[in-house]
Each structure stands twice: as C-alpha cells, then as structure tokens.
C-alpha cells in the first residue's frame, strides 16, 4: 500500500508542519505586540481562524472526494477512504474551533458559550459530521458504505451555505470577517497579519499531514477486511464436504474480491 514516495512526502510535510507551527507559536506569543483593544487575548486569533479554515477545507475535500466516488467514471474506493479520512480530521478541527472559540469568548464576551449564529451553526456542523462518521460504522459492503456516506457527505455540505446565510441574518455577537470583509480591506496589519497568514499555512500543513496518516490507516483497515474475507472464504471452501462446491463458488469469490479491492 505505502509507496516510498508517499512515505517521504508524508514525512516531509510532517517536518514542515512542525517547523511552521513552531514559528507560529514564536511569532504569536513573543514577536507580535498585544492588541490595543483586546490586549493579550488577540493571540488566539493566530489559532482560532486557521483551525476553523482547516475544518471547512476538510469538509470541502470530503465533498469533492464524495462526488468523485459517486460519479461513475471516476469511481474508486480511494475516494471513499479519502472522504472518510478528511471528515474525521475535519471533526477534530471543528471541535478545536469550538474549544478555542470558547476560550476566547469567556474573557472577551464574559461567557463560554453564546447563542450566536456562527457558534451555533458550527456546533451543528460538528454534529452533522459526527453523524456522517456514525453512518460509516453501519455494517455494509464497501460499495454500499461508500455510496451512502458519499451522499450523506454531500448533503451535509449543502448545510454550509445555509450556515453562511444564517450568519448574515442573525449576526449578533460574533465579530465580522477580519480579512475577507465585503470591502476587502483587511482590518489587520503588519506583523499580526503575517502571523495570522503563517497560522493559516501551518495549520493547513498539519491538516495535510494528518490526512495522509489517516488515509493510510484507512487503506490498511480496508486491506485487513479483504484478507479476513479471503480467509473466511478459504476456510469455508476447505471444510469437509465443500470440495464439490469449489468450482461453482469460484466466480462469486472472484466477484466479492474484486468488489472490495481498494
């Protein structure tokens, strides 16, 4: 399963992400100045938006991979495994988004949680993809699971524009977008902007690294399933009295085998 190139790319991305995260920590905690209004609290901005961005990126990848699986011309079990791996990493990052947001909200707004549009919808997004992962655990053939979860993944993604729309409608406490605001004039400058950008890049690398690991594990899991299936069939075929069935059964065995190949 694991080619040498994959292994080295993964390691290289791992090392780069480690260095980038270290740089973000140094810049975020020591080099950048405290904010005029928010003081030291502003330092969470180098973590919170990048983490949220990665969550969205992960769900975007899940949707693309799901579409590629559903489209018959590009159908391949790899897309299903990629979609699942990305969704799992996405759920972790959504949880981190909620946690870091909460940590920021307590001193800034005085509460751990507030029923603001973006918070609420992020929480819903979290549950939505937890549902997606739960659906994946339902026993089924590989193809069945892949189709069902691909559709569920796409439906969940439809929720994202509704999330955005709801923000525009019942925007309450959450501050507006800092960089991508309607007038496209960033409200953040100099070192702080650079550190924020660094945060975005480093967390994207962390995501890529985690995704590659998870994808590989998913491949191994699939392989174990195939091996177990082969073993069971093998044992069955060698049970006393089954010799005569071997010729008849073999096309089926081949079919099942082909069906579950990664």
């Amino acid at each position: 399963m694991e080619s040498k190139r994959y292994k080295w790319t993964r390691r290289a991305i791992g090392i780069v992400s480690l260095l980038l995260v270290a740089a973000t920590v140094i810049f975020g905690l020591w080099i950048t100045p405290p904010d005029v209004v928010q003081g030291q609290l502003v330092r969470l901005i180098y973590v919170h938006p990048p983490v949220a961005w990665v969550a969205y990126l992960a769900y975007g990848i899940t949707s693309i991979a799901s579409t590629l699986y559903l489209w018959k011309r590009t159908r391949n079990m790899k897309w299903d495994l990629l979609a699942a791996s990305s969704a799992e990493v996405g759920v972790i990052f959504t949880a981190l988004t909620l946690v870091t947001g909460s940590i920021w909200g307590r001193p800034a707004w005085g509460v751990w949680w507030t029923w603001d549009a973006r918070l609420t919808t992020t929480a819903l997004l979290f549950v939505l993809y937890l549902g997606y992962l739960a659906l994946r655990r339902v026993p089924a053939t590989s193809h069945q699971r892949a189709v069902r979860s691909a559709i569920a993944g796409l439906i969940a993604f439809v929720d994202v524009p509704i999330v955005h729309q709801s923000v525009v409608w019942w925007r309450t406490l959450h501050q507006g977008a800092t960089v991508l605001n309607p007038s496209l004039s960033p409200k953040i400058h100099g070192e702080m902007a650079m550190t924020l950008l660094l945060g975005f890049i480093s967390f994207t690398f962390v995501y890529a690294w985690m995704l590659m690991h998870r994808y590989q594990i998913a491949g191994f899991e699939q392989k174990i399933l195939d091996i177990e299936l082969d073993q069971i069939l093998e044992e069955r075929l060698h049970e006393p009295g089954m010799e005569s069935m071997q010729v008849e059964l073999s096309p089926d065995v081949e079919q099942i085998d082909r069906h579950s190949k990664v």
């Binding site: 559903l70 819903l124 549950v127 939505l128 937890l130 549902g131 739960a134 659906l135 339902v138 026993p139 089924a140 193809h143 069945q144 892949a146 189709v147 069902r148 559709i151 569920a152 796409l154 439906i155 969940a156 439809v158 929720d159 509704i162 729309q165 709801s166 409608w169």
Partner: protein, 221 residues
C-alpha cells in the same frame, strides 16, 4: 415518474389508513410532548404563549422521525423494496411518493397539534396565510430530508439511534425558520415576504432536488 409517485403515495397512505400507526401512536406521542414541555417550562400563560411556535415545531420534528422511519421500513421489511425494483418502479417516483405520503400524514398531524397548542398554550394567531405557507414548506422540507436520511440509515441495526442523530442537525434550519416565521405570524408583524419563509422554500426545494437525484443511488447500493 409522477405516476409512480402517485401510486407509491396512494399505497403508503392506504397502508397507514389501515394500520393507523400515525393516528394511534405518533399523534399521541406528539401530544405528550406538548404536555411535558409545559412541565419543563413554566405554566404561566405568558411563557407558553411566547414559546408555543418553537415547542410546536419541536414536537413535529420529533414525530417526523417516527413517520419517516416507518415510511422506509414498509419497503425494507420483507424486502418489499426489491419487489419495487423488479417491477421497474422509478426511484425518483418512489422518493416523491414517500415524501408525499409522509407530508400528508405530518400535515394532518400538525393540524390536530395546532388545535392542541391553541388550547393548551393559548397563543393568538394573526397571520393565517403565513402560518399555512410556512407549515406547508417546512413539512415538505422535513419529509424530503427525512425520507432520504431514513433510507440512508436503513438496514442498520442501530437505526433507531442513528436516524435522529442524522436528521435533527440537518433539519434544524427548518425548525429555526418555521419557528421564527410562526413567531412573526403570531405577532402583528406577519407578512408573506417573511425571509424565514423564503429559507423554508429554498430548503424544501433543495432537498426535493437532492432526493430526486440521489434516491436511486441509495436504493441501488
């Protein structure tokens, strides 16, 4: 497709008419939730009047889980769905038929439940057109998303726990929008240009389209 949809809807409604599950089990369940909501909150009329739309839609949403579960179970039990596939019934037709049948059942349930809300919580309703239109589109949205998710989760032994986990987050915009538009309708601010009504229309159209496109793939898999 439309003919198949009508046939499916007719068949499902006939089954419901004879088995009376919605009438005997789901409707009483919805009523019980209305009563226990009053226990959980405050029985003073002011509070209940204020939260009446939200509680109503929450009761509908919970009840819908049973309805959509049943709509799909009719086909998965005894592999009746395989029979439909053999007959060559259009999958889009199956979907639309199931949605129609669930819609009719839920809409009737809502009508009875609304009487219950008016009697128990005592809200004053002003904008009837908005109430009816929001209820119509909210129910279409819940039915469409519900039938699709119920089919996705079918065949799983953990379906009873999986379906609410999948369905409630997805239909939460409907809960929110229907509640908000009813709040508008219950106060004097009712107008048919209500943005929440528009959200309900968008939601129901999107989920009907998604279902018509994907339902076949879910059935085949």
């Amino acid at each position: 497709m439309w003919r198949d949809a009508l046939l499916m809807a007719g068949k499902d409604l006939r089954i419901e008419f004879r088995s009376k599950v919605t009438l005997n089990q789901i409707l009483p369940f919805a009523f019980v939730t209305l009563i226990v909501f009053a226990f959980a909150l405050d029985t003073s009329p002011g509070t209940l009047q204020k939260v009446a739309p939200g509680l109503f839609w929450l009761a509908v949403l919970f009840s819908s889980i049973f309805s959509v579960d049943r709509a799909v179970a009719i086909e998965t039990n005894d592999n009746a769905g395989d029979g439909l596939a053999v007959y060559g019934v259009d999958s889009g037709g199956i979907f639309l038929g199931k949605v129609t049948s669930v819609f009719v059942q839920l809409f009737l349930l809502e009508a009875v439940l609304l009487v219950g809300v008016v009697i128990l919580y005592g809200p004053a309703i002003d904008g009837w057109p908005l109430v009816l239109l929001s209820a119509f589109f909210a129910t279409v949205g819940i039915s469409a998303a519900g039938v699709m998710y119920s089919q996705l989760a079918s065949g799983s032994r953990a379906k009873q726990t999986l379906l609410p986990l999948l369905l409630i987050p997805v239909t939460s915009p409907v809960l929110l929008a229907a509640t908000k538009s009813w709040q508008d309708a219950f106060s004097s601010t009712a107008s048919l240009g209500d943005p929440w009504l528009r959200l309900l229309i968008v939601f129901s159209v999107v989920y009907l389209a998604l279902g018509a496109v994907f339902y076949g793939s879910i059935l085949e898999a």
